[in-house]
């Protein structure tokens, strides 16, 4: 096929639309680099909002990016209504212990979120509800001094479906970005 025909067939634009490689979580400066604009658009999420928070248990500060649904879901099906990405500047083990320790003595969490445990794919996760919202949180390390927590809340979770399973089904791109 000639170049002209290839161009007419859309080969050039197809090449241009090829997905870029996923961001490198170890070198990202901000957790808001986790999703690209087009990717969060596809998920129906708005721009990420970046916040810093005091470190857990007095450690270095954490940074968090929250993407929320851009428009309230009008349909009847389940959807992910927020994705949060938190960089914790510490080891995976310390991040896990700090998250659990801080929350176990809090006002809210008794019996609402499970403890972290390895999921079948090997990634630490906990699930349950926060303030009545079905919530899944997955925790992993991307370098020795950076643990990352990805949190999802799911609206209209089908009865009986584990929230982490629903989150992976509804936002597969987020799921594939979590290193195994």
């Amino acid at each position: 096929m000639s170049c002209v025909l290839l161009a007419l067939a859309g080969c050039t634009s197809a090449r241009r639309e090829q997905a870029p490689p996923p961001p490198d979580l170890a070198s990202l400066a901000s957790p808001c680099g986790f999703l690209r604009d087009a990717e969060r658009d596809d998920l129906g999420l708005g721009p990420g909002a970046l916040t810093t928070a005091p470190g857990l248990e007095g450690g270095a500060e954490t940074t968090q990016c929250v993407y929320r649904e851009a428009e309230p879901g009008a349909g009847r099906d389940a959807y992910v209504d927020s994705v949060s990405v938190t960089f914790l500047p510490t080891t995976l083990d310390l991040a896990r212990r700090a998250l659990e320790t801080v929350e176990n003595r809090g006002l809210f969490t008794a019996g609402r979120m499970s403890a972290f445990a390895a999921a079948p794919d090997g990634v630490l996760q906990r699930e349950g509800t926060r303030l009545g919202e079905p919530t899944c949180e997955r925790l992993f390390a991307v370098r020795p001094d950076r643990a990352v927590q990805v949190g999802y809340t799911v609206e209209r979770l089908p009865l009986g479906e584990p929230v982490c399973q629903a989150a992976a089904r509804l936002a597969p791109l987020v799921d594939t970005r979590i290193p195994r």
Binding site: A53, P54, S84, F108, L131, E133, T135
Partner: protein, 81 residues
């Protein structure tokens, strides 16, 4: 000055105070004094600071503003029935 009557007004007011430099504790106190209960306050905190529910919960715990109530029990003398 009368207290704001609606949730949106109250959150807007607290949000404006946060932007003006009010501490988180002061913002939470404003929400509580304005009539919000614990869980709506946590939701409001998510909106005001662009944080997730887990972070909102941690900040509320740290602030001590609600330390006189426990999860599942309403403040302001509400009794379980």
């Amino acid at each position: 000055m009368p207290l704001p009557t609606g949730y949106a007004d109250l959150v807007q007011q607290a949000s404006a105070e946060a932007r003006d430099g009010a501490t988180e504790t002061a913002v939470l106190r404003r929400l509580r004094d304005g009539g919000l209960q614990l869980l709506p306050s946590a939701r409001a905190l998510c909106d005001i600071y662009d944080i997730d529910l887990g972070e909102a919960q941690r900040r509320i715990d740290r602030s001590g503003v609600w330390s006189d109530v426990r999860d599942g029990h309403g403040p302001f003398g509400v009794t379980d029935t």
